[in-house]
Each structure stands twice: as structure tokens, then as C-alpha cells.
């Protein structure tokens, strides 16, 4: 090892130590636990090794419910929030007056606390003995019947969760996309204009390829973030998500560790590894798709 690379490693050492102790080691540990039956963290003991934990988790109704919820959340919110963010960014980019005001308004949810936002959503959607909630009042006004969004039917609860998630992730996406749009050189648009390029074609052939790296970044992080969703569900439906039928995979992992029925690190580990495998697969697919469609300057 020459002097130069020695120095380099030396500088990297603190980060490597911390990451190793708090990221890599626990990851390996989780992987190991997931194959150890009935691991007990207090006594550091287990009954045996094998795929039992996975078998249990994959047959657990609560896990399957969490899996279904998480997948629905991902499939609905990632395309919806990215598409909406793109639309709003395009609109912001095309106005001059009040642009800064609107940018601030759209960015506000980002600096607002998740739980506070959850509270607001409860007020909007929750049906109590005194009121049906603001949303239901609107529905009633148009002649519809009240729906209990917090304790009612599954689709209503899923709607609120998706609505909430989209609203929470939107600001960051808008921020990234407005700056991406602003960085597309005006010359390209002028050139397209001189060639009488139809608007839609300008968008698909010039704007989209130019902002594709940022768009792709948002899609990947959006997928990962949605798969890891937990706090959003808690903010709306409270901590007993299994009872509400609105648990997510991360919520399931947490419940297995610390919840009312908790104390099962092995099951939690198995569930975590399953989530990891899902996210890894989806991300790899994303990367493969992006090779064809993302253009880096």
C-alpha cells in the first residue's frame, strides 16, 4: 500500500467504522437472525436454524395484509405523486407572476411535521359522534352518503393513506422537478420553436429526456420510500395498525419487535429480509429500464 492510498483509507476510517458498526454489522445480524428459530435477544439463545421464520411470516395473515397494503400504496402513490409533481412543476415553470408564492405554498407540507399533518387529516376525514368531518360534509353537499374514512371500509382507509402519502411526498418532488425544468436551456426551446415543433412533441422529445435523470431519481427513491412507509399509517390510523387492517411491512417488522404481540426478533428479521429482497428487485428492474430511457448529459 503506498502512502497516498494509506492516507485515503485513514480519512475514510471514521465513516467506515461507524457504518460498519451501525449499518453493516446489524444488516448481517438481521440476516443471521432470520434463519434462527425463536431467537431470544436477552438469553442470546435459539432453538435451531432453517427457513421456519420465513414460512411463518409468509403464512401470517397480518404479514400478507401488510404486504398487500404496501404494494397497493407503492403502485398507486409512486406514479400518481410523480405525475402530479411533474404537472405542477410544468405549471409553475410556465407562469411568471406569483411563481414564488406558489412554490412556497407547494413546498409547505415538506417542512410540516408528519404527525401534525396526520392530525389535520384525521380532522378532515374522521367521523365522530359530533361531526362527520369536513370531507364528508362536502360529500353530503353533493348528495352522497357519509363514509367513515378512518374506521370504515378498506377502500376508504386506503384512499386516505394514499391521499396522505401523495400529499406528503409531493413537495420534494416538485422542488426537484422545478429546478430540473429551470435548468433546461432556453435555446433548446427556441430552436424547437423556430422549427414549429408542436407543444406535446417539445415535451416528449426535449423536456422529458432533459429532466429524465431527476425523474428517474424520484421514481427510484419514491419506490424505496413507499416500500418503507410506516409513520404515515401510524399518523392516521394510530399505533394498532393490525387491528385497523392498514399495517405496512415496516409496521409489521416493528410490531414483531416491540408491538403488543412483539418480542419476536426472528420473525421481524425474516420480514425485514423479505422487504429488502423486494426493494432490491424493484430497484434493479428500475435501473435496467432506466438504461434505455434516461439520458445523462
Amino acid at each position: 500500500m503506498n502512502n497516498r492510498s494509506f492516507k485515503g483509507w485513514l480519512y475514510l476510517l471514521p465513516a467506515i467504522l461507524f457504518l460498519g458498526a451501525f449499518m453493516v454489522y446489524p444488516l448481517v445480524d438481521v440476516f443471521v437472525y432470520s434463519f434462527e428459530e425463536g431467537y431470544n435477544s436477552a438469553s442470546q439463545s435459539f432453538f435451531g436454524t432453517g427457513l421456519y421464520n420465513y414460512r411463518y411470516v409468509l403464512r401470517d395473515e397480518y404479514f400478507l395484509q401488510a404486504l398487500k397494503n404496501t404494494f397497493l400504496l407503492v403502485i398507486i402513490t409512486v406514479p400518481l405523486s410523480t405525475g402530479l409533481a411533474l404537472l405542477i412543476s410544468l405549471a409553475l415553470n410556465s407562469i411568471k407572476k406569483l411563481r414564488e408564492l406558489f412554490q412556497t405554498i407547494y413546498f409547505l407540507p415538506y417542512v410540516t411535521n408528519t404527525l401534525a399533518v396526520g392530525l389535520v387529516f384525521m380532522i378532515l376525514f374522521k367521523k365522530t359522534a359530533y361531526t362527520d368531518g369536513l370531507v364528508n360534509l362536502v360529500i353530503n353537499f353533493f348528495g352522497g352518503a357519509s363514509v367513515d374514512f378512518i374506521d370504515g371500509p378498506y377502500w376508504a382507509k386506503m384512499f386516505v393513506l394514499c391521499f396522505y402519502t401523495v400529499w406528503v411526498v409531493l413537495p420534494f418532488k416538485i422542488l426537484i422537478l422545478t429546478s430540473a425544468l429551470a435548468s433546461v436551456r432556453q435555446d433548446f426551446y427556441n430552436a424547437a420553436r423556430l422549427d414549429a415543433t408542436p407543444k406535446w412533441r417539445v415535451f416528449t422529445r426535449i423536456t422529458l429526456p432533459m429532466i429524465s435523470p431527476q425523474l428517474f431519481y424520484l421514481i427510484i427513491t419514491g419506490f424505496i420510500g413507499a416500500f418503507k412507509a410506516y409513520s404515515d399509517a401510524v399518523a392516521i390510523f394510530g399505533t394498532d395498525l393490525n387491528a385497523a387492517g392498514m399495517n405496512t411491512i415496516v409496521g409489521y417488522v416493528y410490531d414483531m419487535l416491540y408491538g403488543n404481540s412483539g418480542g419476536w426478533p426472528s420473525f421481524a428479521s425474516a420480514a425485514a429480509i423479505i422487504l429488502f429482497a423486494i426493494v432490491l428487485t424493484i430497484t434493479c428492474i428500475n435501473l435496467l429500464v432506466s438504461r434505455k430511457h434516461v439520458y445523462y448529459v
Partner: protein, 370 residues
């Protein structure tokens, strides 16, 4: 297609919002660009030449005045309906598309009757690529090509839809010196082959002089002079034009005319008839100097720069403006030059008088060297 600008004015609001004043980028510009010619729009940075170009292509709307393409008034026409091709200063090639796709792009926009079949488009792309000699590079992306190749790609893209007018914004500014020489010849050739009326903007007088049929000199938004390059060079209308054209630049002196004789400092250098007595600014082209042992203009010799074919004599004179006088002499006449002093007589056609206040040219009826 002839292009006519009529009293064209473009004002921009001042950047300072409190300040209600306006910036006049182009000021009452009238110009006729003849059909099929290559016209160089020339001026220093910020003189409004790029704005003039944007007005012609329609990316900017004039504050006042009108623009005609042939007999059509295009002033109110949006850029996409004017039928112009514009080559941007930084080319503005779509970086994610190949050369072929870039050239194809304008053709794919054609709709209705103008719509072309795939085969015809392909043919036109190849034709344009051949014209600018990049048919070998059609599958490359702009980032994989040199500046000169990108420039050709941009010209091909502008030409492929057969524009009525081709506009080039500082076409050579992003190229290195060698490529610049080569590319300007290319532009000349392409313009000749296509016969399309072409306007290009540049701040490099050499560039403009070397390839233009007509040059248009601008300063502070005002058109100074237009004409064939050699004519404008030989017969400048004012001191600015005289100074702006020519390398090495024209030598400027404080002079005066007394009784039909032009004096520079204490030296009576030339007979100049038809000019009122008084103080003048005198411009003398470097090639106007002729070495003679008893020449009337006495200068202190600084250095002699031998360039092979020509020799540049650098000298000073008490009445000169600037730091030195550069005179270009055929090498054979410069052999005897040496010592502290060099004496010149002047070729009258290359000596111009200007009003010291306004800078306007004052023409003499006849002149004779002393």
C-alpha cells in the same frame, strides 16, 4: 429572399425596476439585405447585433418598425411561420439525439400538406449531411463530436427544411483559430451552393470581411455603415468604422488643416483640398505608409517586426493617439530602416479625416502626397 428592415427599434425595460428608463438595443435600423447574399452583421459586444438577429427570426418582437421577407410583411408573424433557420451560438443541438435525429427533427414537425414520407425525410437528411460533410457521423451524438462537427450539424439542421433565410449567431466563436479559418470557408461554400440569403452575426471584423458579400457595421444599436467589405474598409463613414475594421488597426493622429495642407504635429504631410481649415482627427491605414529618407512624417523608430512577406514598423509620433504607430511595409522597402528615426510619406487614398467632435468623416476633394 430579400430581407428588409424598416426603422426597426427594440427597447428592453431596464433591469432596475425602480428605474423607468429603457435600454435601446436596436435604434431605428433600416437595412435591405439583398437576395441570396451572405451578410455579416458586425459590431462590438453589446451593439445590438444579436438582438437584430432575434428580431429577424422572430424570437423578439420589435418595439417599432417592420420586417419584410421579400414582399411579405413578417413583423407580426411568429418565428415558426417565418421559415427561418437559425444556428445558435452554442448550436443548441439536442444532446440526447444523434446527428441524424437532430437533422430529422425539423422535418418531423411538418404537418398537413407539407408532411413528408419517411423515405423523403431520410433523403433530405442525407442531402443536408452531405452538404456540410458529416454524412459519416450520422449515428454520433453531439457530445461525441468536435466543435466544428457540431457546428456543421447545427447548420445542417437549420438548412434541412429549406429556410427562406439562414441566420447564424456568432457561428465561429466557439471554435479554435485553425478551425475558424476552415469553417468560415465552409460557411461561404454552403451559402454559395444553397443560394439562401444568409445573415451572420460576429464581433470579429476579419471574419466578417473575409466571407461576407455585404457587411453591416453596428454600434450602440445604431447602424453605422453598410456595403461591400472592401468599400467599407476603403471608405469609412466615421471614425468608429475606420477603427473597427482592419488588422492592424488604423493609426489615429491629432492633426489640422491649414491652407489646404494637412499637418500632423509639426509635420506637413499631405496636400488636402476642399477641406476647411481647422483641427481634425486623422486616420492612417498601416498600409498607407511609405518609407522615404526625406519623407514628411517623422516618427521615432521603436522596433521593426519582420513577418517574411511584409515588415511591420512600430514607431511613435508626438501627435498620435494610442501607444504606437504600426505601419506595414513590403519587406524590400524596409531594408534601410534603422536608427532612431523613420520617415514616411503617405498614400493619400488611405488617409481619412474625421471631425474631432462627432467622429464623422470629412472628405477632401483631391489630395497629393508631399
Amino acid at each position: 429572399m430579400k430581407v428588409v428592415l424598416e426603422h426597426l427599434t427594440k427597447k428592453f425595460p431596464s433591469r432596475n425596476k425602480k428605474d423607468k428608463s429603457e435600454v435601446v438595443a436596436v435604434n431605428d435600423m433600416s437595412l435591405e439585405i439583398p437576395d441570396g447574399k451572405l451578410v455579416g452583421l458586425l459590431g462590438p459586444s453589446g451593439c445590438g447585433k444579436s438582438t437584430a438577429l432575434n428580431l429577424i427570426c422572430g424570437l423578439e418582437a420589435p418595439t417599432e418598425g417592420r420586417i419584410f421577407f421579400g414582399e411579405d410583411d413578417v413583423t407580426a408573424l411568429p418565428p415558426e411561420r417565418r421559415g427561418v433557420g437559425l444556428v445558435f451560438q452554442n448550436y443548441a443541438l439536442y444532446p440526447h439525439l444523434t446527428v441524424r435525429q437532430n437533422i430529422l427533427f425539423p422535418l418531423q414537425n411538418l404537418r398537413g400538406e407539407a408532411k413528408l414520407s419517411k423515405e423523403v425525410m431520410e433523403e433530405k437528411v442525407l442531402e443536408a449531411a452531405k452538404l456540410v460533410q458529416i454524412e459519416q457521423l450520422l449515428e454520433r451524438k453531439p457530445g461525441e463530436m468536435s466543435g466544428g462537427q457540431q457546428q456543421r450539424d447545427a447548420i445542417a439542421r437549420a438548412l434541412v427544411k429549406m429556410p427562406r433565410v439562414l441566420l447564424l449567431d456568432e457561428p465561429l466563436s466557439n471554435l479554435d483559430a485553425r478551425l475558424r479559418l476552415q469553417t468560415r470557408e465552409e460557411i461561404r461554400r454552403i451559402q454559395r451552393e444553397t443560394g439562401v440569403t444568409t445573415v451572420f452575426v460576429t464581433h470579429d471584423q476579419e471574419e466578417a470581411m473575409s466571407i461576407s458579400d455585404v457587411i453591416v457595421v453596428m454600434k450602440d444599436g445604431v447602424l453605422q455603415q453598410t456595403g461591400k467589405p472592401q468599400e467599407v474598409y476603403n471608405d469609412p463613414d466615421n471614425l468608429f468604422v475606420a477603427k473597427f475594421l482592419g488588422t492592424p488597426p488604423i493609426n489615429v493622429f491629432d492633426g489640422s488643416v491649414r491652407g489646404g495642407t494637412l499637418h500632423i504635429g509639426g509635420d506637413a504631410v499631405m496636400r488636402a483640398d476642399g477641406v476647411a481649415d481647422g483641427a481634425y482627427t486623422v486616420g492612417i491605414r498601416p498600409e498607407a505608409f511609405r518609407v522615404r529618407d526625406d519623407g514628411p512624417l517623422r516618427c521615432a523608430l521603436e522596433t521593426v517586426e519582420v513577418m517574411g512577406r511584409d515588415t511591420t514598423i512600430v514607431s511613435t509620433h508626438p501627435a498620435m493617439q494610442g501607444v504606437s504607430i504600426r505601419s506595414v511595409i513590403s519587406a524590400e522597402y524596409a531594408e534601410g530602416v534603422g536608427g532612431d528615426e523613420v520617415r514616411f510619406y503617405l498614400k493619400c487614398a488611405k488617409v481619412h479625416l474625421f471631425d474631432p467632435e462627432s467622429g464623422e468623416r470629412v472628405r477632401f476633394s483631391s489630395a497629393e502626397a508631399l
